[in-house]
Symmetry: C2
Subunit: 137 residues, 2 copies
DNA sequence: TTCTAGATTATAACTATTCTAAAGTAATAA
DNA sequence: TTATTACTTTAGAATAGTTATAATCTAGAA
């Protein structure tokens, strides 16, 4: 059973039709051994590099939103210029290098777990994001 | 010595000309006893409410950038739809209520201090932002 | 094979933000 | 004061990221 078979099942199981485009995006996002961060534009370029074919921006946006909804990827709040996404959906934190415009994972062992001693009535915590902005020293 | 005198001195001391618009924005941002969060659009509306006059969006953007540069306010990374700013420049963290689109301060006593046990060569930490996203429970 | 709901696409539209260049104003010096 | 100059404000144009639209296409079911 190769990767593409896996992706077909993965998509079907979560109620998404395994279209050519979605499979291609799965390949790009989930075939490598490492997780990574990307913006929509970067993803578009990676797709062209790796597959020599272009997927329309609209479809990339649609697919990224669908994958977000299914929890395949997550969004990272960095700044308001563009959205960043992460193929690592486990709870973890980030350095953001403002000069290189680059996100770097912070591993659990590198930071004390964040503990919030306050509750907001009627609300539950959806996510905890820690962003450590870096500048040249 | 009233507020506006203070703001004139404040602006002059940091090398910004105390123009009518900048003074007005100072009033709106720094006269109240509480700090608060705002987007550019919200600020524009508050100015109109409080002074019955409109300041052009370009000037508001300019001024907010100038004030950011001088450290009068700080920016908060919430999402990529728009920028949020905070008149409380001390290091503290936030809840973000995604349903109400509202930021809520987390006080120091409500969270353990964040400690990062990792250094990135050639970089220094510029800021540590913790954002706790909330949803209806 | 046919049908249909869902998917893809190019492109238009929209929103937040930045740029431009003309007109206005604060600070300085005479 | 007045004149000069550099900085500021402004409307509106331009740009970038994202979302909406509507026509075409396709996966999956009948």
């Amino acid at each position: 059973m190769d990767n593409s078979t896996n992706f077909i099942a993965k998509l079907r199981n979560s109620g998404l039709r395994p279209t050519k485009q979605r499979l291609k995006i799965c390949e790009v996002l989930f075939s490598g051994k490492n997780t990574f961060h990307f913006s929509i534009n970067e993803l578009s370029k990676i797709i062209i590099q790796k597959t020599n074919e272009k997927i329309s921006l609209a479809t990339i946006y649609n697919t990224v939103h669908a994958f977000l909804g299914k929890g395949y990827i997550k969004q990272i709040a960095v700044n308001s210029e563009q959205s960043y996404y992460d193929t690592n959906v486990s709870e973890h934190h980030h350095f953001y290098d403002e000069d290189k415009n680059q996100l770097i994972d912070i591993h659990d062992s590198e930071v004390e777990p964040v503990k919030i001693n306050r509750k907001i009535p009627g609300k539950k915590i959806k996510s905890i994001e820690l962003l450590v902005k870096l500048q040249n020293s």
